[in-house]
Symmetry: C2
Subunit: 297 residues, 2 copies
Amino acid sequence: MTLFDIDPLTEPAAPEGPLVRVRMLVAYDGREFRGFAVNRDVPTVAGSLGSAIARHLRLPHVKISCAGRTDAGVHAWGQVAHIDIPEELPSGRKLDLHALQRSCNRSLAPSIVVRAIDLAPEGFHSRWSAISRSYRYTIVNRPVPDPFLAGTAWHVDQPLDMAAMQKACDALIGEHDFTTFCKKSPDNGSLVRRITDTTWRDLGDGIMRFDISASSFCHQMVRSVVGTLAEVGLGRRVAGDMAWTLRARDRNQAGPPAPPHGLCLWEVGYPPELGLRSESGPPMGLRGEEAEWERGS
Amino acid sequence: MTLFDIDPLTEPAAPEGPLVRVRMLVAYDGREFRGFAVNRDVPTVAGSLGSAIARHLRLPHVKISCAGRTDAGVHAWGQVAHIDIPEELPSGRKLDLHALQRSCNRSLAPSIVVRAIDLAPEGFHSRWSAISRSYRYTIVNRPVPDPFLAGTAWHVDQPLDMAAMQKACDALIGEHDFTTFCKKSPDNGSLVRRITDTTWRDLGDGIMRFDISASSFCHQMVRSVVGTLAEVGLGRRVAGDMAWTLRARDRNQAGPPAPPHGLCLWEVGYPPELGLRSESGPPMGLRGEEAEWERGS
């Protein structure tokens, strides 16, 4: 079984008869799940969401594909998923996407929220059509923890030098072999990835936010990068050594991965012809409740 | 037993020998507690914090006073509490406030966090010396919930008119009898309170924040005010009727109280001579880790 390239458990089902592809913009609190991908033994996002959809549509089961299979404990704000369902539902009812969205949110929110839903345009695949992924990592850099950020940010109680962490990122930009920062897997293909942006922001009160975008990421890559950057921030590594660390292609040269609960799959980008807007406003222009609902109307 | 004026369970203890008064700036996640005040049958903030302090100092028990006894489910960022402890500890050790803070945070964080700690100046009492309290209420006004704000904000799925809610606040400013907005209690004294500020802010993405300051608040007052303002925001009440609602001195005229998890005791104000700073920077200038710790030092 290949864990990160093809996962038979989450490949689209191929029921008989014509299918329609439905896509969803999904947010979830990763603490409650052992990752996205279906695993029959533990609660996962795809498992819970698939069951809720199947129950509502009275289908025996639903297989879910997604843009980024997040690990155990990792959150998502802008996960994109799709399902293929029969054009003719077993119940004989017409497919009502808003009713499906409401039904999922009624049974799964706030742990999992379907933020928007629509029919996918021709040729759309949540994973293979995606051209970029953005992850966000949040650190609370204060001597004492914060009750309200404890579930979504890593508490680092020693002062971090954010400028040094930003400087160390320079070496990451561009196309590189990220073996140093990727968890080994027997099925790993190429670990070459193209990073397009890395930005640290000081949000005040010790809250530091790291945004990183790439064509795609390999397993545990963002957490390993953040863990290594934190060692730079703590003065245990030199920012200028980052290029060497990357070129070493040796996982032992990376710092320990930062904890999963500070990480969030923030946004997935698609080509314009696939109808997903990249400008500001709602992160995705799906025709869900979110897009149709106008404040004050 | 008087619930809101004197609570024997949380009055300072009077052990033999000279005492020192220690004050603390405390944050907590209210979801995990049945309010602040000690109750032997259920988990409370004072119960958990008092036990942790007593354990560390090897005292039989510690009684905690605070500035605002929050209800079940209500959060605090800037709660101020104090304890009176014997100058001579039973262990014979010298009182080390930083060690006490670290010990509390080790056993209670992130549910309860002691943000700062110091010796109280002469004449200080967390409750009776306080001259102002500020509460913050957060609403997420979107069609679908938000996994990451679900624990600290009220999700309202119908559009709220924030301008109307702000207008309705005009009637609240100043000194009034708040019987309409206070939960009845056999021990209620005067329900006259002085509100000094009410501000709604649109933080974007449907997040609305309400800050309200007063000399003090009576029981369930902020939640009742927010619940009533939300009815204005939803168009079920007219903003201009708020003055009449207040003058009615009739609890039946208020809207249902907004849920507790959106509410947070934000800050407590003291006179300058009691050494608590009101300017920006760390909310309180206590000599805790927070004040001594300088980023980058």
